[in-house]
């Protein structure tokens, strides 16, 4: 980081940086943790001189804010054009890397929610399960719930690289019935069909460890 860039940073804090220099500097800051730290320190110096005392933000606070925004931005991004005419809301691919650049804690924060729990991924999983159920479930097939039992262990899943159609059908039904994101209608239809296929079934337990 050159002194010239840091001097630009200092001028930016004071509102004295020419507008045409701001864009490049902002992009640099997105990738440069040292620049971010310097900017935060410059701001702290000014705050201390103008209003000493009182509580201040701890190190890493800004990074935590950035990570928190990353966690929620997929649900509610900046959507409405305000000062910027015609600006459209969209997910910025650099958001998480920017948070990570601010502080290692930001990277940890950004990874706090596993990928499969992110809203879009959850929706995709639920949709995939529903689609699999529609494609694979046949009412005339052998009932799959009566001998459903506990789900296969992880080691089983790892060793069975190519599941049979019956296994796929069981898996699809299991996912549909258990997914909190599948609709009640889908779940009811699947259960009704299965029960109709085998009148001998009077009660089916779907919870692992629950007594039959």
């Amino acid at each position: 980081m050159t002194d010239q860039i840091r001097e630009q940073l200092s001028a930016l804090l004071d509102g004295e940086l020419p507008k045409d220099e701001m864009g490049l500097l902002v992009r640099r800051l997105e990738k440069d943790a040292a620049l971010r730290r310097a900017f935060g320190s410059y701001a702290l110096i000014g705050e201390t001189l103008r209003a000493p005392g009182g509580r201040i933000a701890t190190t890493g606070f800004a990074a935590r804010v950035s990570a928190a925004i990353d966690d929620t931005a997929g649900v509610t991004p900046v959507a409405q054009p305000g000062l910027a005419a015609g600006a459209e809301a969209q997910w910025s691919p650099g958001q998480e890397s920017a948070a990570a650049a601010m502080n290692p804690a930001a990277a940890a924060g950004a990874q706090r929610v596993p990928l499969w729990q992110r809203p879009m991924v959850r929706t995709a999983l639920a949709a995939s399960a529903a689609a699999a159920a529609v494609l694979l479930f046949r009412p005339d097939a052998a009932p799959v719930v009566a001998d459903l039992g506990p789900p296969p262990a992880a080691s089983d899943a790892m060793t069975n690289a190519s599941p049979t159609p019956a296994q796929s059908q069981r898996l699809a039904s299991y996912m549909v019935v258990h997914s909190q994101y599948s609709t009640p209608l889908v779940r009811r239809n699947v259960l009704s069909s299965l029960l109709a296929a085998d009148p001998g079934i009077t009660r089916v337990s779907y919870e692992m460890g629950e007594a039959p």
Partner: protein, 218 residues
């Protein structure tokens, strides 16, 4: 449940607490710069909003800590305020300064936090008798955690000491900027030097103070 206090309107409270500069208690010239950062953030340049967070994090945390009964919650509430601000950024039209807008969000977030916990906040702006004011001041001081107080005091001492160590031209430039709130042009007039020199002196002053601060912040 105790009655919720009336927080002061942001503009009035800021004028009464931090006179001399613009209504956010900041040096002159930052409003346009903030506005440009907001424009960029609205175009999904997240780095621009991150800069605004870095710039105002201490002001917002300090504000929220003074409003809440439990200052240890200040960072959580301040974080929530920044997230709300980001999500509402599309509605910011620039009718007021960015910090004024952020101030309102922070105050409302603090109020909501207080209401949700059914706690009575410390309304330092309320019209209190002298003895009540003394009690409030004592509680404000008492409620801050020892670690936060010590760090804040160490930072203040370090910054002041570092400024005293600066060459006179650097010290004058940084004080005129940060304390008096003068623009670079006004400082150039006062110090009879080019604006570029002012910019360089302020930067070098900040660098020197920053070096002194780093052991505290790392």
């Amino acid at each position: 449940m105790q009655a919720m206090p009336n927080f002061p309107p942001p503009d009035e409270s800021m004028k009464s607490r931090e006179p001399g500069d613009d209504d956010a208690g900041l040096p002159a010239g930052t409003e346009q710069s903030d506005l440009e950062l907001v424009r960029r953030a609205q175009r999904n340049e997240r780095g621009a909003f991150d800069l605004l967070v870095l710039k105002y994090q201490h002001k917002v945390v300090k504000l929220v800590a003074r409003l809440l009964r439990d200052p240890t919650e200040a960072e959580d509430v301040a974080q929530e305020a920044f997230v709300k601000a980001y999500r509402a950024l599309g509605s910011f039209r620039g009718d007021s300064a960015f910090y004024t807008w952020l101030y309102r969000i922070a105050v409302n977030t603090a109020r909501n936090s207080i209401a949700s916990r059914q706690r009575r906040p410390l309304d330092y702006e309320a019209d209190l008798s002298e003895s009540e004011q003394n009690n409030v001041a004592a509680r404000l001081k008492h409620d801050d955690t020892p670690e936060a107080s010590v760090l804040s005091e160490e930072i203040r001492v370090t910054v002041n000491h570092a400024i005293e160590q600066l060459p006179e031209d650097l010290r004058t430039a940084i004080v005129l900027r940060e304390v008096e709130g003068l623009s670079y042009e006004e400082i150039a007039d006062a110090m009879d030097c080019p604006v570029g020199t002012v910019r360089s002196r302020i930067f070098r002053a900040r660098e020197a103070i920053d070096r002194a601060l780093q052991p505290l912040l790392d």
